[in-house]
Structure formats: C-alpha cells, structure tokens
C-alpha cells in the first residue's frame, strides 16, 4: 500500500476510536457516536488484513516522537484484537439496555480499544507504554460497570495489580531504554538486544516478565482475571479474555530478548511457571461454579502453555522460528476461541427455537480449544514441534510432551465442566434481534481464521503423522471420560474465585489492627504534643510577665542610678584603654 494511503490507514486504525471518544465530548453528537462505537475497530481490522508489514509512520510531535508500524507478528495480533473487539461490539450493540451510564461505558469502551490497538501498532517504547496504560486504566471502568459490590471488588483487585504491573513495566522499560543508544527515543525493536547486553539484564527481564505477567495471567499475579471476567459484562469479558490478555503476551514477545544466548535459566523458569499455570489453572478451574470462572482459569492454563513455548525458545534459541510461529498461531487460536466461548455464555442465556444448532455452535470453539478443529490441530501441532531443530530441549526435559498431553486432558475436562455449568443457566431471557451475530462471527473465525495465517507469512506446523494425531486425540477422550466419571462421583471443593487472593486480603487490616493494639495512632501523639506545648506556653507567659514588670520598674525608677553605674563602667574602660 502506498505512502499517503498507508499513513491515513495506520492513523485511522489507532485514531478512529480515539476520535470517536473525543467527539463524544460534544453533547449533540453523543447518540451518533454511541451508534458508531461498536464498529470502531473496523479500520484496524482492514489494516490488519490489507496492511503491509514494514510500513511505518513517524509522528515526531507525539510524546518523545512516536512511530507506528506493522510487523508480521503484530499484524496477527492486530487482526485478532480488532476482530474480537468488533464481535464483542456487535454483541454489546444488540444486548445493551438503555439507561445506566451507557454513555460512560461507551467512552471507556472506545478508550480501552484505542489503548489496545495503539500498543499493537506502536513501534516506540513511549507510545507502547502510553497505550498500555490507557488500556489498563480505562478497562477498570468497564469491569466495574454494573456497580455491584462484587464488581467493585474485582475492579479494586484489577486496579491494584494493574498499577503494580505498570510500575514494574516502567522500571523495566527505563532500565532497558538506558541500555539502548537513544535512551530518550527508544524503539521497541532495539530493546531485546539492549536488554541482553545490559548489566542489569535479569532485573529488567524479571520486571518486564512480571509486569506483563499481570495481564497475561501469570500465576500469583492472576487474581484479577477470574474476578474481572466473572463480574464484567459479557462483551467486556470477551474482550478481556480474548484481546487484552494477549496484550501481555505481546509485551513479552516484543521486549524480552527471546532469541538471545545464555538464557537457559530463564528458560527453565518460564517452562516451570508455564507448566504450573497449566495444571494449577485446570485443577482450580474444575472446582469453579460459574462458566465465566471456568473459562478464566482455562485462559490461565492456556497462557501457561504459551509461556512453555516462550521458555522453550529461551532455553534453545535455535527453536526460535518454530516457537515464534507456534506462539502466534496459538495466540490467534486461543484468543478467538475464548472470545467465542465468552460471547457464547451471553447467547446461551436466550431462549432459542433451535437449541440443537445453539449447542453445536457452542461446541465449535470448545472443540477448537481442545484441538479437534483445524485451528486447534495447527496450534497444538506447532506447539509440540520441539523437535524441529536439534532435540536438546527434549534431551534435557524428556517428559515435556507427556506433560503437554496431560495439559490437554486438563483443557478438555475444563471444557466439559464449562458445558455442564452452561447447561444449568440456558434460556433465561428473551433473545434480542440478532443477538447471536457477534458470537457467530467469532465462532466461525475461531475455526477457520488459521487458514489466513499464510497470508501474513506465518507458517504453522500441521501434525503430519498419525501418531501425533493420536497424541492429540487421546487426551481429549480421556478428559471427557474423566469428567463424565467425576460428574457422577465427586463434589467440587468450594475454591473461591481468585483462590490465593482470599488469603492475602486480610493482611492490611491485620496490620492496622496491630498498630492500634500498640497504641501508635496519630491522634494520641498529637494530643500529647499539644499538651506539652500548652504548658510550655503558659509558663513562658508567666515568666515574661514577671520579667517585664520587673525590668520596666528598674529602668524607670532608677534610671539615674543606672546612669551613674554606667558612667563608672565606661570611665574605667576608658582608663583601661588608656593604660594599655
């Protein structure tokens, strides 16, 4: 695409939602804006489809001098983000009820979208960080939208973690930027090498890993995900689970020095956490009692798989191309499927005339997720493609394929659980006209979008042998069997959403109480001080008065006596001065 057109297109992709949100400031335009809002992601979608990677736009006046552009990876991310936002927008458009703060929701929706798109399009650190922050903070408004106590708690948790994440990212970016040639105008592309060469490499990587991990659902930073997904409106949940979680992943991809040598240690860490997340997510998710929560934990475990891939990449740089492809494919596949599932929850609420069709439709993304659909096949195939080049990873860690297979078991159990729960609350309310459009769009995409990948030059790896096919199929069957048995036999433990968080929340209160017990509160100390002050002041006043009267008396009455004394004094001094 040509220069001018490209520039306009790129600017539109990021700027259109922003422009809309600004236009909303004009009262007379508000109804029109809120009608356009759901479609705000369309320009980005078109750019992602028809944009050429490598094309950049320089905005020297923006921040320190910003740069927009596309790379193959970001193009895929742009596509999935725009698609999910559009679908969610359509869903929202058909499901929104007039009244409660619809306008506030509209503005925050646009701002979050802007941030989400901007961080994908950004090529320089400043704009990237700006968009990331914009997304984080305006998403808060979407999460607490329905204003219930639970929603506010979710929002609080999300915000605290978000702020911490932002600061961690800032530390990482600052240190990394310092290591680049142009610390004041750093480009994302320069960061990985700079980090690899920096003297605080590990500090930088740790802070970036954790900082983006807050979004990507890293274990122990994941609390906000289940809470937020469960409490926020369906389209928002879809956007969060599908698009925004991938923002964290993108953060990892663009900043961490993945291909650099000598990162085995980090490789192990990522592998470990990834596997832990995978299984823990599955185990905790099974115990949940609401479909959103189940999906949230499944997201956590899926992201765990992705970070396994990252770990593999770090562990063995030679795996780079294969893993890069795998991660991209998996991200696309998981994002679309998860988005479809969430919208599906919304759709399943409606009474429908053709339940069979509904259930088949609902099944598609789930099957894709467990890997029985083309997208799933491709994803899993390219993920397990460790043997692509040399097998040192497999030598070091031979159990890895088995573990991944078990992870697939976990996934399918989660899906089974999801449907079990979904079954319970179907057909509650009347279906709005076309309420299923957005869902349908995503479902279709979740199955077939992978065929677009070559278009962006991303080559996945199809499972070619029967053995590998079987290796994908058997865990699913096992999982289904397990869940059937489990549904008969055992009761789920009541693990609250945001598992470990429940143990952390009382801590501040305890600290305060301890302080009170020791009696170190502000007022007490202040009262004591004021008391002393008052006493000192009173005493001073009395002394002052006495001395004042005394001195007055002396100076007045015996002035002349004083005079004589001084005369004697001065005279003697004079005489002494003379004697010297």
């Amino acid at each position: 695409m040509t220069g001018a057109a490209g520039t306009v297109a790129l600017l539109l992709a990021g700027g259109w939602p922003l422009a809309l949100s600004l236009l909303w400031g004009v009262p007379s335009l508000r109804p029109r804006v809120s009608r356009l809002a759901p479609w705000a992601a369309l320009p980005a979608l078109l750019v992602s489809l028809f944009g050429a990677p490598g094309f950049t736009v320089d905005l020297s006046w923006l921040l320190f001098g910003a740069r927009l552009g596309l790379t193959p990876t970001t193009q895929v991310f742009l596509f999935l983000t725009a698609l999910i936002w559009t679908a969610a927008g359509i869903h929202w458009r058909t499901h929104r009820r007039d009244g409660d703060h619809c306008e506030r929701f509209c503005v925050l929706w646009l701002l979050t979208l802007t941030g989400n798109l901007g961080l994908i399009l950004a090529l320089d650190v400043a704009l990237f960080y700006t968009s990331f922050a914009l997304m984080t903070f305006s998403a808060y408004g979407l999460i607490v939208h329905n204003g219930s106590e639970a929603a506010r708690r979710a929002g609080r948790v999300y915000l605290v973690l978000g702020v911490i994440g932002e600061s961690l990212i800032l530390i990482g970016l600052l240190l990394a930027a310092r290591a680049t040639e142009a610390p004041l105008l750093p480009m994302l592309a320069d960061l990985p090498d700079a980090i690899a060469g920096s003297e605080h490499r590990d500090l930088i990587m740790a802070s970036l890993w954790l900082g983006f991990g807050v979004k990507a659902g890293l274990p122990l930073l994941h609390f906000s995900l289940p809470l937020a997904y469960a409490e926020s409106p369906v389209p928002v949940a879809a956007a969060l689970a599908g698009a925004m979680i991938k923002a964290g992943l993108l953060g990892w991809l663009v900043t961490l020095p993945l291909g650099a040598a000598g990162l085995q240690g980090w490789g192990w860490i990522l592998l470990g956490t990834g596997l832990f997340a995978t299984f823990a997510g599955a185990l905790v998710g099974v115990q949940q009692s609401r479909p959103q929560l189940v999906l949230a934990y499944s997201s956590i475990s899926q992201m765990g798989l992705i970070s396994v891939a990252l770990g593999a990449w770090m562990f063995e740089p030679a795996l780079g191309p294969a893993m890069a492809a795998a991660i991209t494919v998996y991200a696309l596949h998981h994002a679309l499927a998860k988005g479809a599932l969430f919208l599906g929850i919304g759709v399943a609420h409606h009474r429908t005339r053709m339940p069979v069709m509904l259930w088949i439709g609902l099944a598609f993304p789930a099957l894709a997720l467990v890997g029985l659909m083309p997208s799933g096949l491709l994803a899993k195939g390219s993920l397990k493609n460790f043997a692509a080049t040399g097998a040192s990873l497999l030598d070091a860690f031979p159990q890895l394929p088995t573990l991944l297979a078990l992870a697939a078991v976990g996934t399918s159990v989660l899906m089974a659980r999801h449907f079990w729960l979904l079954r319970l609350d179907t057909g509650r309310d009347a279906a709005p006209p076309g309420g299923w459009h957005g869902w349908m769009l995503l479902t279709g995409a979740s199955v077939f979008a992978v065929f677009l990948l070559p278009w962006w030059g991303v080559e996945g790896h199809w499972p070619d042998t029967v053995k590998s096919l079987f290796g994908i199929v058997w865990p699913v069957l096992l999982g289904v069997a397990l869940s059937v048995v489990a549904s008969r036999r055992l009761q789920p433990w009541p693990i609250p959403p945001g598992d470990v968080l429940v143990l952390l929340t009382p801590l501040p209160g305890l600290a305060v109480r301890a302080g009170r017990a020791l009696g170190v509160t502000g007022p007490a100390a202040r009262r004591l001080l004021r008391h002393w002050q008052a006493r000192a002041l009173a005493r001073y006043m009395r002394a002052d008065h006495r001395f004042g009267r005394f001195s007055e008396h002396l100076w007045r009455r015996d002035a002349s006596l004083l005079f004589v004394l001084l005369l004697a004094l001065v005279a003697s001094i004079g005489a002494l001065g003379f004697a010297r």
């Binding site: 905005l59 921040l63 320190f64 001098g65 914009l134 204003g147 932002e166 600052l174 240190l175 310092r178």
Partner: protein, 498 residues
C-alpha cells in the same frame, strides 16, 4: 536604556501597576477592576511571548542599575528564567479569570486582587532576577505579598496559618540573606552565569562554600517545602482556592525550587556543586520529601490538604531532578517545574469548583460528583493521572526523564523512589477518581451557588479545562517545538555546553 531592557521593565510593571491601581479602586468597582486585571494579564502574556521568541534567537534582554556600589539591580531574561516567567504569566491569566468568578460578591476584593497582582509581580521578578541580590529582593517581596492572601478569609485558623507561614518564610529568608551576604563578601556581586562563577575559588574556601550552600538551600527549601520545613504548606490551605492554586502551582513553592535551581546551576555551577559533593545529600533530602509527602497525603480526607501534601512530594521531583548530575536529569527537573504547575493548578481549580458548586470539601463526600460535574471531573482525572505519572499526561514525561537521568547519574536507587512514589500517588488519587466516577450519591447535592448554563459558573469552568488541556498537551505533544520539554532541552543545552 534601550528597548530590550524596557520590555523587561514593562513585563514587571504590568502587574505592579495593575496592583497599585487596584489597591486604590473602590470595593464596588467590579467591572473596572476585572478589566484592568485581565488587560494586565493578557498584556503581560503577550510581552512574555515576545521575549520568549527573542530569547529563542539568543537576543540579550538586560536591565541593570546600581543600588549600592558593588551591588546592582539586574533583570535579565535567560532561557531558565523566561520559562518560569512564561509559566507564571500564563497561569496568572487563568487564575485571575478563576478568581474573578470564585470571589464573586466576596468582601475585600480590592485587597485580594491587589496583593494577587503584587504576588505575580514578585514571582516574575524572581524569575527575571539577574543576580542573587535581585533574587533576594523579590523573594522577600513574595513572602510579604502572599501573607495577606493566606489570611484573606480573616478567620482564626487562617490567621494562625498566616502566622506559621511567616515564621517559616521569614526565618528562611533571613538564612538566605546570610548566605547571600557571605557569598557577596567572598566574591562580590554574584550574577547568574550558566556554569556558575565560584569554581575558580581557592580550595581552602570550600568548607565555607558548602556552609553557604547549606544556608541558602535551607532558606529556599522553606518555600520549596523540603521535608522538615514543609509544615506551613498544608496549613496555608485555608486560603481561598485560587490562592492555594497559585501558591502551589507557581508562586511560592516554585520560587523555592527555582531558587535552588539558580543556586545550583548559575551560582555554583552544577559541575562544581557536584565536585563539592553537594548534590547527593540534596537528592536524598528530595527523595525523603517525596516519600514523606505521599505518605501523609494518603491519610488526608480534606481534599485540599491531600493536594497540599501531594504538592510537597511533587515539588521535590524538581529538586530531585536538579540534584541529578547530568543533562537528562536536569531536563526532567526543569520540565517538571512547568508540568507540576499545570497539573497542580488544574487539581486545585477542580477542588475549588467542587467546593463552590457542591459545597464539597472532603474526599469522602465526592461520591458521584462525576455525574453532576463531568467536565470538572474529567479535568481532575487528567490532573490526577498526570500526578501519578500515567502517560500521556505531562507527569509521565518528567518521570521518564528523571528516571533515565537518575540512571545516567548512576543513582539507581532514585528509580525505586520514583516508582514507590507513583504507587503512593496512585494509592491516594485513584480512590478519589473511583468515588467521583463509580459511586452513586444518595442524597441530592446541596448546591453551593447558582450556576449558569454549564455545570458551574463559566468563569470557574473555563480556566480549569484550559489548564487541564495544557497539562495534557504538554505531555502528548512533548515532541513539538516550544513544548515545555523542548524549552527545557534548550536551557540544558545552554547550561551544559556554555
């Protein structure tokens, strides 16, 4: 006395004359007074813009005459000074607008606006001062002209606050005076020269120089509200909102920070100060203040008090930047001088709007203010995000430069201070935003005063939005020519490679 020196005099005179005239006006001449005030403000702004353009082209503006032999009164427009002048004259315009709206039908307006203009005049004088003596002159004048504003309400606690204010500022002024005199005895008239004028002195004097530096920094630190010397600032909150806005954004605290910048850059010279080992302690003091202010702010329920403590911590960002040896840190500090002004004045305007329109003074009463006053609340949100340092607000630019500067200067711990401070900022600003936007108000608002077609009188709303817009633009378009960042870079380029 050529044109270039006359224009400096004119810049000073605009507000001086305005104040003189306003003092003589009768209380009832509202329209005339407002007209004079605004006319003076606009005129000053135009002159300043003219000078900025001139300074940009390296034109020398200087006005000097002898006061005592060996002591000159010098006004000079250099890049650093003119930056401060620009800030003060811009915000003067807005604050005047705001104050006109705010003090409608309030008593003692002649006195108020008279001293208000006088205060701005002294700020401009501080900014344009060409040597320590002139600086001191206007520095004390500022103290005197702000006292009546602090006690303007005339209530018992405002008088008490004024008294505390005087204790601190007069004491500090006296210390500063000693430092200046001692320096004067050592090296004669100390003009502000980029790179400083002391590095040539005999090493046996270094201990003395360090002592003098301490004296002056303590004297200036009182106004800049450095940690142990900050107590007057929260008390001064009893003043009317425009006053606290001006005090916090431009006049008093900035005068202190600006003075420290002058002392470090143009009297001692940053290299020399660094070689004397003065910058490290300064950075430590600034960091302590930053954290202390934020911690105290957490505990305040009174909105203005919370803002005051946040000012204490924010102003120390400037001092921190000054004490970072290296161009980038310097840029960070200087640019924050402007950014903090813009953001903080916005916040105070908003606080004033809430107080005036809804009669709300406490954070805990702000529930649902967002629905009632969306525009004001948007401005407040922008300001708060800027304070936290969330991009693309101006605060982020400062923080980024400070961070990089700290790393350049090899003070990595400063990065920790910055991060912790922005976490604390988030901790005391975000709850406010949460209350404003996401809580519902049960009881109806007790409307403070009748409002026009907007959510609040236009004279209160317009300046608020304008400053908020500036604060946003300063961050968003930092890359543009004549943005604060750009100007700070000019200053630094002239400072570090004279």
């Amino acid at each position: 006395m050529d044109w270039n020196s006359l224009i400096l005099f004119a810049v000073l005179a605009t507000s001086l004359v305005a104040s003189a005239v306003i003092f003589l006006l009768a209380e009832s001449r509202v329209t005339l007074r407002s007209t004079i005030n605004l006319a003076a403000a606009v005129l000053k702004l135009l002159l300043v813009l003219w000078i900025i353009w001139g300074v940009y082209q390296n034109i020398e503006y200087e006005l000097r005459f002898t006061i005592i032999d060996g002591v000159d009164f010098i006004l000079r427009a250099d890049a650093l000074g003119i930056m401060f002048v620009g800030l003060s004259s811009l915000l003067w315009l807005f604050t005047t607008l705001y104050a006109i709206g705010y003090l409608e039908k309030a008593p003692n307006r002649s006195r108020f606006f008279g001293f208000f203009s006088l205060c701005v005049a002294s700020t401009v004088g501080i900014a344009l001062a060409g040597n320590l003596f002139t600086f001191l002159l206007f520095y004390e004048l500022l103290t005197l002209s702000t006292y009546p504003l602090v006690v303007h309400r005339g209530t018992r606690e405002s008088l008490r606050a004024g008294q505390i204010y005087l204790y601190y500022t007069l004491g500090g002024g006296a210390l500063l005076l000693f430092g200046v005199v001692a320096l004067h005895v050592l090296v004669g008239d100390t003009e502000f020269i980029p790179g400083g004028s002391l590095s040539g002195l005999d090493p046996t004097l270094y201990p003395l120089l360090i002592g003098i530096f301490l004296m002056m920094v303590i004297g200036l630190g009182v106004k800049a509200a450095l940690f142990p010397l900050h107590a007057w600032l929260p008390m001064a909150m009893v003043a009317p909102a425009p006053v606290s806005a001006l005090l916090h954004a431009v006049a008093v605290v900035k005068a202190g920070a600006f003075g420290i910048a002058r002392v470090v850059y143009d009297v001692y010279g940053i290299e020399f100060a660094f070689s004397l080992g003065l910058l490290g302690p300064l950075a430590v003091a600034a960091s302590i203040t930053i954290l202390y202010g934020s911690l105290r702010a957490l505990a305040q329920d009174d909105l203005k008090k919370r803002l005051a403590f946040s000012t204490i911590s924010q102003v120390s960002y400037i001092i921190l930047g000054i004490s970072l040896f290296g161009p980038i840190g310097t840029i960070g500090g200087l640019v924050h001088l402007l950014h903090q002004g813009l953001m903080k004045i916005t916040l105070f305007f908003c606080a004033g709007n809430y107080a005036e329109t809804l009669g709300v003074h406490k954070v805990s009463e702000l529930d649902g203010a967002g629905q009632r006053m969306p525009a004001t609340s948007v401005a407040f949100t922008l300001g708060a995000f800027g304070m936290i340092g969330i991009p693309p607000m101006a605060g982020f630019i400062s923080k980024w430069y400070l961070g990089i500067g700290a790393l350049e200067a090899g003070m990595n711990w400063v990065l920790g201070v910055l991060i912790v401070s922005s976490l604390l900022n988030a901790a005391y600003f975000l709850p406010i935003l949460y209350r404003i936007w996401f809580r519902r108000r049960e009881r109806p608002w007790c409307e403070g005063k009748v409002v026009g077609r907007f959510e609040t009188p236009a004279l209160l709303l317009i300046p608020t939005l304008a400053t908020a817009a500036f604060a946003l633009a300063a961050g968003l378009f930092a890359g543009m020519p004549f943005s604060p960042l750009y100007w700070a870079q000019i200053i630094v380029s002239r400072e570090y490679l004279p």
